[in-house]
């Protein structure tokens, strides 16, 4: 007697669930996005905290510095994307160059925020709500930039060893998506800290 399977409904049920690389990559992709979804709750809660405690006020910060680090981070996203495109075109040298630029720009961002902003700010972490919020928001974000830089460095080294191809380079995609996520958070943190409300 032949087995009549139920007609598969119109939903992502794989017709051939035998583990193949494509299936694995799509599963990995879902896992990464679920992680990003989860992590966004942290940053969302920090945004809530900022508006709950400061309302229509914002910390008094050096505007040009904020703009500069923002530009640096956005540019790093551009080079990250470029690197990923190069990898999918099979251009390993192009990938390595652009990844290196991304790492450098990410490091410059960290220097700009932790190295400069934190030192020159006229308030410290213990100076009331604005101190608490500014250092925590930028600190959590900087931590993610830092781990992103580490992730990218590992991917850089592994790419140099020839571990990735144009067809299969999941770790590259993962590092890139993580990096863009870090940029995404700053897209909201920058106006929240620098632009919205009256300076205290």
């Amino acid at each position: 007697m032949s087995v009549q399977p139920y007609p598969a409904e119109t939903h992502p049920v794989d017709a051939h669930p035998v583990e193949n690389l494509r299936h694995r990559e799509r599963t990995n992709r879902l896992g990464l996005w679920l992680f990003i979804l989860s992590d966004s709750f942290v940053f969302g809660a920090l945004l809530f905290t900022r508006f709950y405690l400061l309302g229509n006020n914002r910390p008094e910060l050096i505007q040009w510095l904020g703009l500069v680090v923002t530009v640096v981070l956005l540019a790093s996203s551009f080079f990250m994307n470029r690197a990923e495109v190069q990898m999918s075109l099979g251009n390993r040298q192009g990938f390595l160059r652009n990844t290196l630029v991304t790492i450098v720009l990410g490091s410059l961002f960290l220097i700009g925020v932790v190295g400069v902003e934190w030192q020159v700010a006229h308030f410290g972490p213990a100076d009331g709500a604005q101190g608490a919020i500014f250092y925590t928001m930028t600190g959590f974000h900087a931590f993610h930039v830092f781990t992103g830089v580490i992730f990218l460095s590992l991917v850089y080294r592994n790419a140099k060893k020839g571990l990735y191809s144009a067809e299969h380079h999941w770790p590259v995609e993962a590092a890139a998506v993580y990096w863009h996520f870090v940029d995404l958070v700053w897209i909201f943190f920058y106006p929240a800290l620098y632009l919205i409300g009256t300076a205290l």
Partner: protein, 617 residues
């Protein structure tokens, strides 16, 4: 070569945890000394705590696959890793979801036992007015730890059920991310150690909710409590993420979402909550940690902060958390009733959707914990409405269960007893919810023992009873043996009436004005008599649990061998697999050929194995 005791992952992990702790203390001390600041215990202990968790993970071997990846070396695929045989397998890293499920289960039972024991200590103190047995700080620490350890136990229990069952129920050979699975489990162990170690650092007097400003000024034990919970939160998030990915990506052919066994829906809804909301308790605790360590003004008004902010952040997780506790339990009830009533699950799609509905509405009710907090008044009524609304999807489940039982051929097996007990107990718990969810009554009952009665009711009905039912039910699939039927019945018939006495006593004394979290109370006869009843009942609940534990351990070693489809279930793990379930589960892919709950149709199957190539048609 690792030999002897060091070959046991758990042992190595604990040793490395101690080493990591010392390393963290050393790092902070050296840095402080280099900057001309003196030794300070609290920052040293905090960094020590986080380093200790990392140390544990290195020691147990949970990082090995990723270390290899980072170094560009190929890691052994999880399915091909050789694992030790026998009980030792459970004491180290395993990538097999069934092993991990059992590991979670063992930790669950340990946590429930420990958390329950803490309760018995302070309940003994509460038998009479005056302080006879323990001091005030000890009392406060014990109630706080009872709460958190019990919560941890329930989170672990949901993870145990989800991890063991989901791949089996959807026809997969393992979870989507086996290494992440092992990692998430093992994170829970150092986390629990940290939480318990708060007792060695002076304890804490805030209760498990750790409200600032008090938590800002509490003893150093508060920091270890915070660190442990934050680490445990990561375990929760990663484990839940794995379940969501598994359910969405690893189902057998033909198994659309509406043809999954109902338990998977419950696990999916639970995991969506756990994966997202947990971040907020982690953040809220970290912010208090920062306030203590760096003087950051989040919650202390003297420092520009707002204590209500903490409550919003905290309860945004901690209310949905109760649905993390009960949704797996409800799913167990839905899964088992058809088997023991020999009838289809009534309203399968509604039940499936109700799990998601509870998860969604559960995110919208948190401020009902804050009606008396002094938050803006205009927030109260909307939260009352949403709170009452969550009874609707819950009601859907109750009506489904009633419909499933109606005119069924009921088999009063031990799992069924616990399922019926769960429904019975949760019904009262659920009915006492609206009393608390309604602002006028809550203003009187907030922080009273009535609340304690309500939530123990819902937790036992929604988690404890179903968990025991699930262990009895799936025990043959896990171990190949049956649990003792007699001991199971004894457990049930001690647990159910004792729990009723306990919970009614708590509610009564709360209505009379007994506050919660107080170590002592006025000498009023109406209080004291009931307190005696509550304590004695609590000990009987503990006795029932100990009998259950004994049953589990003894049956695993010497229980009657269970052959075949012991419960005559249509579910794939019973239809198609022997006891215990083999490694990698199904030998061939399985395919869905019928509905999961057509118990009345005797000649249909739900799932079949794909025939081997070359078989005749």
């Amino acid at each position: 070569m690792k030999t002897g005791i060091l070959s046991i992952g758990l042992v190595r992990g604990l040793l490395f945890q101690a080493a990591g702790f010392l390393a963290g203390v050393a790092v902070v001390t050296v840095i402080r000394l280099a900057f001309g600041m003196g030794f300070s215990a609290e920052p040293a202990i905090v960094l020590g705590a986080f380093f200790s968790a990392i140390g544990f993970m290195i020691g147990v071997g949970a990082f090995s696959g990723w270390f290899a990846n980072a170094l560009g070396k190929p890691a052994i695929p999880p399915e091909e890793v050789e694992e030790p045989s026998g009980f030792k397998r459970y004491l180290g890293v395993s990538y097999d979801h069934k092993v991990i499920g059992v590991q979670y289960g063992m930790l669950t039972i340990a946590a429930l036992f420990l958390g329950g024991s803490f309760a018995l200590i302070f309940r003994s103190e509460l038998v009479a007015p005056g302080m006879q047995l323990i001091g005030l700080q000890q009392f406060n620490t014990l109630i706080g730890l009872h709460g958190m350890v019990a919560i941890v136990g329930m989170l672990l229990g949901g993870a145990a059920l989800g991890n063991f069952l989901v791949p089996l129920l959807i026809g997969a050979k393992d979870m989507a991310f086996p290494r992440l699975n092992a990692f998430a489990f093992w994170l829970a162990v150092p986390a629990v150690v940290l939480v318990l170690s708060s007792m060695a650092a002076g304890g804490f007097d805030t209760g498990w909710t750790a409200y600032p400003p008090l938590s800002i000024f509490a003893n150093m034990g508060m920091q270890l409590f915070f660190a442990g919970v934050v680490v445990f939160g990561w375990s929760s998030v990663l484990g839940a993420l794995n379940i969501v990915a598994t359910v969405l990506r690893m189902r057998a052919p033909g198994m659309s979402l509406f043809r999954m066994p109902i338990f998977v829906w419950g696990s999916l809804a639970t995991s969506i909550i756990a994966m997202t909301a947990t971040q907020l308790i982690g953040l809220s605790f970290q912010l208090v940690m920062f306030e203590r360590l760096f003087g950051m003004g989040f919650f202390n008004p003297a420092n520009g902060g707002n204590p209500i902010l903490f409550q919003h952040l905290f309860w945004f997780y901690s209310h949905p958390a109760v649905y993390i506790f009960v949704l797996p339990g409800f799913a167990v009830i839905s899964e088992l009733l058809p088997v023991f009533a020999r009838k289809p699950l009534f309203g399968y799609r509604w039940v499936a959707m109700s799990s998601l509905g509870i998860a969604l509405v559960g995110f919208l009710v948190w401020a009902h914990h804050m009606f008396t907090s002094g938050m803006e008044e205009y927030l109260r009524v909307p939260f009352m409405y949403t709170t009452l609304l969550v009874a609707v999807p819950t009601g859907v489940k109750f009506f489904s269960w009633t419909g499933t039982l109606w005119e069924g051929k009921i088999r009063f097996t031990v799992p069924m007893l616990f399922v019926l007990g769960a429904m019975n107990v949760f019904l009262l718990g659920g009915l006492t919810g609206p009393i608390l969810g309604t602002i006028p009554t809550d203003l009187h009952l907030h922080d009273s023992y009535f609340v304690v009665g309500h939530f123990h009711n819902t937790m036992f009905g929604g988690f404890v009873f179903p968990f025991i039912a699930a262990v009895h039910y799936w025990f043959p699939k896990i171990t190949g043996r049956k649990m003792s039927d007699l001991l199971g019945r004894i457990t049930f018939f001690i647990l159910l009436p004792s729990f009723w006495i306990q919970t009614l006593g708590q509610m009564q004394v709360g209505l009379l004005g007994m506050r919660r979290r107080v170590a002592d109370y006025d000498t009023l006869p109406e209080f004291q008599t009931t307190h005696i009843f509550i304590t004695v009942a609590g000990f009987l609940v503990g006795l029932a649990f100990v009998i259950f534990m004994y049953n589990v351990i003894r049956s695993a070693m010497k229980g009657e061998v269970a052959v075949g489809n012991v419960w005559e279930s249509r579910s794939p793990e019973w239809e198609l697999l022997p006891n215990p379930a083999p490694k990698h589960n199904y030998p061939q892919p399985l395919v869905v050929t019928g509905d999961p709950y057509d118990y009345s149709l005797t000649d249909t199957e739900y799932v079949e194995l794909v025939p081997v190539a070359g078989a005749t048609d």
